[in-house]
């Protein structure tokens, strides 16, 4: 059995790196008292993975940790144990139990929802550039990849994009083949408007996968 734990990362902890969070979660699982499954070998560690890494400096209401259990456990017990093992700035929002044979959360996730708050010079310009961006068939931008920088069409990565409150909401692709990062999108919008990129606060609001009908749905509701 595996548990998918949905948790948040509040602003205070936004500078914790993904690597540090990984180590922290391994220790947190040790102190849950739950029957966690461990890897074999010289340095056994809990079998766990994140659905998606969150960039340094971003906050989230929707991080998902996928943990393998060595014995069946009730959902409520898992949720309580996780809640007591994490500090208040990593709040636990829910636990879903899945079968060992179900694909890993990181294989299921294919899109992510963000709210990007804009402030300072350039904020207006970014919002004004949204209709033009949506109307364009292709938008080329320099994208950092493992093998250096190259120009790619980022338009298909933006599944939806609407102004909202102090910034915009975006649903962005998050698969191996196609993905778009929220900060790159904001930079491209600013560039298209001929403005400097404003200050960004990126906040993740959901991680999504596809249900049997092929519809995008939050991971915890699949």
């Amino acid at each position: 059995m595996r548990m998918l734990v949905r948790f948040g990362k509040r602003p205070r902890l936004r500078f914790i790196s993904h690597l540090d969070l990984q180590r922290f979660m391994q220790m947190a699982l040790n102190r849950t008292g739950l029957p966690i499954a461990y890897s074999q070998g010289f340095n056994p560690h809990p079998l766990m993975s994140f659905a998606s890494a969150l960039a340094l400096g971003w906050t989230s209401d929707y991080e998902v940790l996928d943990v393998r259990l060595s014995a069946p456990m009730g959902r409520r017990r898992c949720e309580e144990a996780m809640r007591s093992a994490l500090p208040e700035d990593l709040p636990v929002y829910g636990v879903r139990l899945v079968d060992d044979r179900d694909p890993a959360a990181m294989a299921v996730v294919c899109a992510s929802d963000y709210h990007v708050a804009l402030s300072g010079e350039g904020a207006e310009a970014v919002l004004d550039a949204i209709p033009g961006f949506l109307a364009a068939e292709q938008v080329f931008a320099m994208k950092k990849t493992k093998s250096g920088e190259r120009e790619v069409d980022i338009r298909p990565g933006a599944l939806s994009l609407v102004p909202s409150g102090d910034g915009f909401d975006a649903r962005l692709a998050l698969t191996e083949k196609l993905s778009l990062k929220a900060d790159l999108l904001a930079r491209v919008l600013a560039e298209r408007a001929g403005a400097d990129c404003p200050e960004l606060r990126v906040h993740r609001t959901a991680l999504l996968g596809r249900d049997e009908a092929g519809e995008l749905k939050p991971l915890m509701e699949l």
């Binding site: 902890l13 500078f15 540090d20 102190r31 008292g33 010289f42």
Partner: protein
């Protein structure tokens, strides 16, 4: 913008924001309205260093167990953050509630090392607390300093309200109780000091007058009339470590810190009596925690923190009276929980390694040994009870167990040291090489690496070497070169040493008096901070500070103090008597050893403390 938002804005600009973040699992969060006393605990170095310090963890726990107290942490911000805070007018704040340190009732600072003194001033200044205690008003916290350097507190005397000598568990709580009583009484600020002067271990520097002789030495340190302060302040001592408070849960940091594991103090004090070692003198007597207590603590700490490693800590863990049994119990209890047991690897004992090896959890990092001196003669002088045979056995055992990296710590400039002693270090390195090659090739791990690290000897108060001057730096450099050239002829040795500048300033402050306070403040104003970090240390600024203040550093650092001289710390009592130290100094000069006091009392003076030695 409120302070928290202003801090957040700075975090995006600095190197390691995690240092200032707070919000860790296990941090004590309370409601400021629910407590009577707010206590800020400052470690005058970075977060990574401070969070690795056991003493701070113990006192944080002891204070926060009380419902009427909230203890929060602060660290000296690294230079990038400090500069940004000054530019934006953000004061030094605590990590838990992000409250300005200046708003606290009590500010405890631990003094682990003389080279953190400028960071004490830097932190007070960032907090907006006047540096000099007489400039502080009713809104400022009382500044209380503890830790090993509190045993020669004089260079910091004008900046500090109280010094706490000795074990902090009980005396820290007593200063809090006194604070509550003082606050209720509505009495003037000085009355709190008067109340604290009655607490065992508390030294109130403003209650003492220092007079000087014409040659610059001290004539007398005497309590001011009407203060009721004792002539000699005795250190505080926790008699029963089993009954003493010890954390049952810990703050678990997010990033890497220096020691990121459960630290379990198995005993306090050391009986070996190495004559250079201040810790071995001031933490007497030896007090052990029982196996039962340690097992119970370990159980709780593993469950509450999730750490997968327990380090058995003390000044000399190999001396714990039933170490093999303890290690065995620990391994047996925790192996199935995948928790490693580690020992600071000072001594490799066959029984012990076998126990730890059972689980294959013993770390095969470099074996570390500290012979301190290169010849038996000099090791006898410093009373380091390690013989060449011990060393040969330890390293040969280690090589047979699969170690191939060994590290040795030595000191250069010990009293009576000759060139022969210095060259003896290279001889030992050769001997270690021979030990390695004496193990059959199929049984030893490949790739022998020997690291020889030589620091510069710094004479410390309350040691038999407290009267010695430090070796002058030109001569230190000559001996370092002599050793370096000799070690070049030994294959596979990595020699580590440092310029003697930092050690010199350390020596000056270790044996300094009140007249150094002006130099310290001047050095800090010139820009000195984080002096213990080689990339920050500015020897030129320190020399300028001495010159500006008209103080000769050699008077403190290089001069041999007279045996009849009043020492700057003679009005403090660290447990060992001056007579004992004097006896040890005489024996050292004759090259005579003194036995480990577990084998029989050596009359160090601890028996004057009720219940100290059984």
């Amino acid at each position: 913008m409120n302070l928290s938002d202003r801090i957040e804005a700075l975090l995006a600009q600095v190197q390691k924001p995690v240092r200032y973040m707070g919000g860790e699992f296990g941090a004590a969060m309370k409601d400021a309205g629910d407590v009577d006393v707010r206590y800020a605990f400052l470690f005058p170095d970075t977060y990574e260093v401070g969070m690795s310090h056991l003493g701070m963890r113990i006192l944080y726990d002891a204070l926060n167990r009380r419902e009427d107290v909230w203890c929060e942490r602060a660290f000296t911000p690294w230079v990038d953050m400090a500069d940004a805070m000054r530019a934006e007018g953000v004061p030094l704040f605590t990590l838990e509630s992000r409250t300005p340190v200046r708003e606290f009732d009590l500010l405890g600072i631990t003094l682990q090392y003389e080279m953190s003194y400028t960071n004490v001033l830097e932190s007070l200044d960032l907090a907006g607390i006047p540096l000099r205690r007489e400039e502080r008003g009713s809104d400022d916290p009382f500044v209380i300093c503890g830790g090993p350097c509190a045993f020669n507190p004089e260079p910091l005397a004008p900046f500090v309200d109280l010094f706490a000598l000795g074990d902090g568990e009980e005396e820290t709580l007593a200063t809090v109780d006194a604070y509550k009583a003082w606050k209720r009484s509505g009495a003037p600020r000085e009355e709190y000091l008067r109340m604290c002067a009655k607490i065992p271990g508390i030294y109130v520097p403003s209650f003492y007058d220092v007079t000087y002789n014409s040659d610059g030495t001290i004539a007398a340190v005497t309590p001011k009339p009407g203060t009721d302060a004792p002539e000699v302040v005795r250190k505080a001592m926790v008699r029963d470590l089993n009954a003493a408070v010890y954390p049952e849960s810990l703050i678990v940091p997010y990033g890497e810190i220096v020691h990121n594991r459960i630290m379990l103090e198995i005993f306090r004090g050391c009986t070996r009596g190495c004559r250079f070692c201040q810790a071995g003198m001031i933490y007497r007597p030896v007090r052990e925690r029982s196996r039962q207590r340690l097992m119970a603590l370990a159980e709780k700490l593993v469950a509450s923190t999730g750490y997968d490693e327990i380090s058995l800590m003390s000044l000399s863990s190999g001396d714990y009276s039933c170490l093999p049994e303890l290690a065995h119990d620990m391994v047996e209890r925790f192996a199935r929980k995948r928790v490693k047991i580690s020992l600071p690897s000072q001594r490799i004992d066959a029984v012990l390694t076998d126990t730890l090896k059972e689980t294959q959890k013993v770390r095969k990092t470099a074996l570390t040994l500290a012979p301190e001196a290169g010849t038996q003669r000099l090791r006898d002088v410093i009373n380091k009870g390690v013989t060449e045979e011990d060393l040969v056995r330890s390293v040969t055992d280690a090589f047979e167990q699969g170690w191939s990296a060994v590290k040795f710590y030595f000191m250069i400039g010990l009293p009576t040291e000759t060139d022969e002693d210095v060259l003896g270090i290279a001889e030992l390195a050769r001997l270690v090489r021979r030990c390695y090659f004496s193990v059959p090739k199929e049984r030893r791990a490949p790739g022998l690496r020997i690291t020889v690290s030589a620091s510069v000897f710094v004479p410390k108060p309350f040691t038999p070497f407290q009267w010695c001057g430090q070796l002058e730096s030109g001569e230190v450099i000559r001996r370092q070169k002599l050793l370096r050239d000799e070690l070049r002829t030994v294959k596979g040795v990595d020699f580590k040493y440092h310029a003697p500048d930092v050690s010199y300033i350390e020596a000056v402050f270790a044996r300094g008096d009140r007249r150094l306070a002006d130099v310290l403040e001047r050095a800090w104003r010139l820009g000195c901070r984080f002096d213990g970090w080689s990339d920050q240390f500015r020897y030129d600024l320190w020399l300028q500070a001495f010159a500006d203040c008209g103080v000769d550093p050699a008077f403190y650092g290089l001069r041999e103090f007279g045996l009849d001289e009043v020492l700057p710390w003679d009005h403090l009592d660290a447990g060992v008597t001056k007579e004992f130290l004097r006896r040890e100094w005489d024996k050292a000069q004759r090259g005579e050893r003194t036995q480990d006091c577990r084998k029989g009392c050596v009359g160090c003076g601890m028996k004057r403390y009720e219940g100290a030695c059984v």
